[in-house]
Structures are given as structure tokens and as C-alpha cells.
Symmetry: C2
Subunit: 417 residues, 2 copies
């Protein structure tokens, strides 16, 4: 039975209350060089900690998530939970150190208050608010190992050599990189193991200790199992890490694009051509047809291309926007919608077409309030087949640029291919 | 005399041949998860190593920069040096390990070949090709300390706790974070100290050793001085680090913007208004007037806003583009040029104006070849003063978006405010 009860639960649905998580989020983030504590720094306008909560709550066998925040951030945190519809979250007051915050979280789980929905778990995960990319597999690995060993933690290879300085600021010795690892998060513990360690440990430990695994070793005599983590577990520490996190998130939500066409227009040559071109040019992006829009939304596709072959109005785009609005898809991430139109010089002059389409500015301002980023794209539609292919190729490039950039400064613009 | 000869040289111009740098760049970058070795990964279309070379060569007291690259990358490296006009670079063949590459670099400096421009320096800096943000001050600090102590290296605080695993993959002990540091680059050595260490060290050291400071200690009995480095020294290791580096570079070259107006148009109300608006709205960006364009180019401003109040042509923008082209400013970074025009509905219809301005597409394609990213911006110019202010504010937002994004997929577009 090397597979844990946790996995059995995951497979069988979400039943018994075995696993909880504690997230210390009281830090001030002085290393970041910005006034906002790093866990509250926005990425695509959403605070970092919300991404971490999302990563934990999508794991259905984590029953409770206890977040420790300072009194000063308590109301802001409640606002975040409400706005982004986080579930299974309980808030406790942070302590003055990371260890005291964790201890407060553990106490809330241990002591069943009359009005509390929390109960004492068998295993508790401890994670950082500033490690948003934690995956279910590593969570399962540390929980499974904690059940067997009493404690477990993710580790990674050292990127730099670690050295020990002498008192005069010179090199005393450098450590053998092959014999050391960086200790990362998440970690997991049998609840009794870590709670006992915190109850027994000294004030000095609570003030200056950095490592839960070390407390479990020192006070509960449990040697933690070390689990190789992925590079994704890295901790958002410096401003550059926020940049990296934003780029990773943008990349992740730009992997799929849905092309929406009318049944009628679907039969039009040019609509199909554009879809084919997108598939060829953006071969790293999955291009799906919007025939079953609800399914695409369930798959968490955040990019929509609405193809209007014949019309210069936004009726169909508006219909798509309404569906997206009802789906709540844009609560967590900004959704990009590109309204594509075609310009056939023969039938309508460029200037008129442009004037017709300028109403997109107002529409874009309106849907921005619901976190939808709307842009227009006007593709030149010549008779010559080769020129048409070239227009479509340019259009595909612009679509990719808009999706990848996800830049709210460009909403309501009408780009031309 | 705590100030080093290096600084004296820096202050007195670039005289004596005291300091050289060795850059091992033979690594394969397997941690990145991409096929290209990380030092050759492009950032804004330029290989990472070129940024590192730029950081070293702008320090005038570093006389020679010796780069060790594998035979397979030798021609590519020569191409990089030529294309980006790097100076004072010598290439040597990399060894199969980092230490062997460094040793090859040191040998090239030690042995004065008849046809070599290199000579044995007093102090040698060792740096990484994948640490592009090294500043002159830390280079000076390690060189100064190396002159006094024989060896010196940059260090940084540990971000994660370091642990030592036991043979069975469990925690043996964790290290006291306050007593350890991460060893970073650059490092500097009296040339004789490090060269002797490499000559004496074992094959095992050359294969498996990671730390030059440790070699200096073991074989030359020199205890390196440790110098506190800045977070900027971090090593581009993972794909996320490339994202971070790109964002940092984009941010750095978006700090200044130059507004170019005709003397005549300078007196126009609306041109001045836009300049004022840019200053107010983009208060993190230095907005300068383009009256002395050569001076602005010398200051390494990479963003230009060309204001055309009356005309719908690109005569003035073309003039600016010519000046930029002659300046070679865009060799190292893509330069953004935004050609701003105004739309007064009373005097000219929207459609006509748009058609007049569509030639920007061709112009943009042309200057893209010289690494200039040209976009157009059409600002609505109503009679109503308040509405005008709102148009200008939108224009300022779009200008900021284009400069910050620096996205070549948007060249030739005509945005509308
Ligand atoms: Mg799940
Ligand atoms: Mg200098």
C-alpha cells in the first residue's frame, strides 16, 4: 500500500477529512524592493497569493486551507477570497515570524472551536504563499511520504555553491554541492508530529528557526523524507521573480485558442482559411473550433477569435461576449477576444469599413470591466489567392501577438492585416 | 590606498593593462529545458551572452575579455561579436568542464603567443556568460579585494535553507542559514594565484570541482575575500530566468522617451499638450524634447515619439528614422518609434486620414530590418478642450503600452486614441 489514502480519496472523489494545508502569508517582502508584501503583488491584476490558493484548492483532497495573515491585511485577504471565489479557506492571525504564523495555523486546526468548520487532520501540508506553481503530483508525493515517515519535504539541486565565511568575511570553506540540497516547499507532516514539535520548541526556535523539517527532527525525532521537486516550486523572492511568474502565467493561458464562426460563415472559404492558417502558424497553440463553446470554456480556454466574414457589426462578437460573461471564465484570468472582420475593397471602401468598426472602442471599454480584453482585427481580403494567404498569415501573427501580450492598453484597437 | 589601481585607471582613462576577464561559455544548459545553450538564447532577438559582453566591455579598465566557447559554437560566437560590434574580445576553445574552460582562458592570457594581442594581466576577473546584469561597482570591488587578498568573490544571502540528506534520502541535518552564503560571480584573482592553482590542481578538480575560490584556497593557500553582491548578479539558469531577464531589459530601456516636434509645430498647442500629458501620465519615464537629437541618442534613449500636428505624411518621421539609422543606436536594442498624427474631423474625414496613413505598414517593414519598431498613433483632436485632454490621455497610455511591450508583432499598426 505505497499509494496513500490521499490518492485513494482523490480517485474516489473528495470524501474523508484527512489532509489540510497551512499557508503562512504574514511576510513583509522586504527583499522585493517594493512596498507591497510580495504575496499581495498583482500579476495580471490579481494578487500572487490568489494563484497559490487556486493551486491548492483545485486539489480536491485538501479539505481545509488555513492562511495566516497580519491583522492589517485581514480585510484585504477577505476581499481576495470573495472576489476570486476561493473555497475551503480559513483565516488566522499571523505571528511576528513565519514559525509563529504556522503555529497559529496548526492551533486553529487542532483546537476545534465551537463555531469553526475546521477539524484536526491526519496530515498537514505547509506551503508558501509565494510559490504559486505547486502541482498536485508533488503535493501527493509529500503527503504520501509524510504518512510513511512522519514528515517530508520537497528539495531541489543547489544552483550556486554554498560557502561558509569566516568571521573576517573571508572564505572558510565551500560545501560539496553533490552532498547538499536546497529545501523547498511544500512540506507535509503527520499532524501530531509537527504540532508536538511546535508545542515543545523554544522561543528561540520560533523567532529564528527557518525550517519545519528541522523542528520535526529536533523535537519529534522524525527524519523527514526528502522528495525531489520540480523547478516550478521556486519561491517568488525578488522583483525579477514577479516578472518570471507573470510570463509563465501568460504563457500557460495562451496555449489554446478557440475560433468561433457562424454555421453559415463556416462554409465560407476565408473563415476556414484563417483557422487553418492559425493552426499552421501557431503550432505551439491548440486551435479549436467554437462549435461547442461550453465545452471549450470548461477546458479553460482563455482566448477567442470571433470570425465575421460578411458583416461590419459586432452582433456575433456580442453574443460570444455574453456567453463568456455568463460563464465566469474571466474571474481568474483576463480573457482575450479578437473580433475579426474582412475588407473587400471591391464592395466597401476602407474608410467606411473603419468607421463602421470604430464602435469597438466603446464595447471594449464596457467588457474590460468584466476582465475581457477585446480587440478588433481587419484582414484585407483580395481576390488574388496568394495575396489572401499573405493577409491571413499577417492576421495570424497579429492574433498571436495580442494573445501572448494580453495587454489591456491595446483594448478597443482595430489592427490591420 | 584602499582605492585600487583599477579605479585609478578608470578615473584617469584607460591606460595600463592590469585587468582581464575570462568568461567560460561552453555550457550546454540542460537545466533550461531548451535545445539552445542558455548563453545563446535570444532576448529581444539578441543572444544572452552579448548582454554579458556589453556589461563587461563598458568597463574601460577591463582590457581583455577572453571567452571560452566550444568548437561547434565558435563561428556563431564570431558572428555575435561582429554583429553587435563587441570589442576587446578573444576567443579560446572551451574544455569539457567549466574549470577546463577557465583554465584554457587563463593559458591564453599567460602564454604570450607571437600573434596574440593578449598579455598576462595583474588581476583576472572570472565571470559567467549567463549573468548579464553585472555592474561596474561590484567588478571594481572584487578586483580591489583581489589585489589586497589575492582572491575575492561575490556572495549573496541564501534564499532557501540548505540541507544535507542522508544516504536513504532523508534529512540528516539542515544548515544554519546565518552561517552560510551563496557563492556568486564575478570573482577576481591575482593572476599568479589562480593560474598556479589551476596548474597544480588534479584532474578530479578539473572534472568535478565547481568553485574557483576553493581551488585558490586549496592550492595557493589564499583565503578569498567575500564581497556582498546585489540580487542583479543572479544566474540565468531556468527558462523563467530568461523571462525575467527579458522583462528587466525591457524595463531598463523604457525609462526614457524623446518627443520630437518641428520648431513650427512645437508652437502648436496640441503638440505641447501631448508632451505635458506624457510627463504627467508616465511619471516613471523621463520625457525629453528632441531638440538636440544627437544628445538624446548619446544618452541611449531607445524610444521616440514623433509628433505631426498638421500633416498626414511621414516626411518628418522619415527624417527621424534616418538620423536613428545613422546613429547605430538600434544595434544593441530595438528602438521604438511612434509616429503621432491628429484627426480633426472638421477638416478631413476619418477614412481619408486612415488611408493616407496606411503607407506606415511598408515603412515599418522597411525599418524593421534595422531593428527599429515603427507604429502609428492617430489621436482624435476635438474642439472641446476637455475631450481633447481625454484623447491625449488615451494617446499617452497607448504610447506607454507600445514602449513597454516593444512587440515586433505590432509594427506598422495605426492605433487610435
Ligand atoms: Mg483534484
Ligand atoms: Mg567605464
Amino acid at each position: 500500500s505505497s499509494l496513500s489514502g490521499a490518492q485513494a480519496q482523490a480517485e474516489g472523489g473528495c470524501r474523508a477529512p484527512a489532509v489540510a494545508a497551512v499557508l503562512p502569508a504574514g511576510g513583509s517582502g522586504e527583499r522585493m524592493g517594493v512596498p507591497t508584501p510580495k504575496q499581495f503583488c498583482p500579476i495580471l491584476e490579481r494578487p500572487l497569493i490568489s494563484y497559490t490558493l487556486q493551486a491548492l484548492e483545485r486539489v480536491c483532497w485538501i479539505k481545509d486551507i488555513v492562511v495566516a495573515v497580519t491583522g492589517g491585511n485581514m480585510e484585504a485577504m477577505k476581499g481576495i477570497i470573495q472576489r476570486y471565489q476561493h473555497k475551503r479557506i480559513s483565516l488566522v492571525e499571523a505571528g511576528v515570524t513565519r514559525h509563529r504564523s504556522i503555529f497559529n495555523g496548526l492551533k486553529a486546526l487542532a483546537e476545534s472551536q465551537p463555531n469553526s468548520r475546521l477539524s484536526r487532520p491526519e496530515v498537514v501540508i505547509i506551503h508558501d504563499a509565494v510559490r504559486p506553481f505547486v502541482e498536485e503530483d508533488v503535493l501527493l508525493k509529500v503527503v504520501t511520504a509524510a504518512k510513511e515517515h512522519g514528515a517530508a519535504g520537497a528539495i531541489s539541486p543547489l544552483v550556486s555553491t554554498v560557502i561558509s565565511p569566516s568571521a573576517d568575511g573571508c572564505l572558510d570553506h565551500s560545501l560539496d554541492r553533490t552532498k547538499h540540497r536546497a529545501s523547498e516547499m511544500p512540506q507535509a507532516f503527520l499532524f501530531d508530529v509537527i504540532y508536538e514539535a511546535y508545542q515543545q520548541c523554544s522561543d528561540y526556535d520560533l523567532e529564528f528557526g527557518t525550517e519545519c523539517l528541522q523542528l520535526a527532527l529536533k523535537y519529534s525525532h522524525v527524519k523527514a523524507k526528502l522528495v525531489e521537486g520540480s523547478p516550478d516550486l521556486w519561491k517568488v523572492t525578488y522583483k525579477r521573480d514577479l516578472y518570471a511568474a507573470e510570463s509563465i502565467i501568460k504563457e500557460r493561458i495562451s496555449q489554446q485558442m478557440c475560433v468561433v464562426m457562424d454555421t453559415k460563415e463556416d462554409e465560407e472559404h476565408v473563415g476556414r482559411c484563417l483557422e487553418e492558417m492559425l493552426k499552421n502558424e501557431l503550432n505551439h497553440v491548440k486551435v479549436t473550433s467554437g462549435r461547442d463553446l461550453q465545452q471549450v470554456i470548461l477546458e479553460q480556454c482563455y482566448n477567442f477569435v470571433c470570425v465575421n466574414v460578411m458583416t461590419s457589426d459586432f452582433e456575433k462578437t456580442q453574443k460570444l461576449l455574453n456567453v463568456l460573461d455568463e460563464s465566469n471564465l474571466s474571474i481568474l484570468y483576463p480573457v482575450v477576444v479578437i473580433s475579426v472582420h474582412f475588407l473587400d475593397y471591391k464592395s466597401i471602401p476602407f474608410g467606411r469599413k473603419m468607421e463602421d468598426l470604430m464602435q469597438i472602442k466603446e464595447l471594449a471599454r464596457e467588457v474590460k470591466k468584466r476582465n475581457i480584453l477585446l480587440c478588433g482585427l481587419l484582414i484585407y481580403y483580395p481576390q488574388d489567392e496568394q495575396k489572401l494567404q499573405e493577409s491571413l498569415r499577417q492576421g495570424a501573427t497579429i492574433i498571436a501577438t495580442l494573445i501572448k501580450g494580453r495587454d489591456s492598453g491595446l483594448i478597443g484597437q482595430l489592427l490591420i492585416a
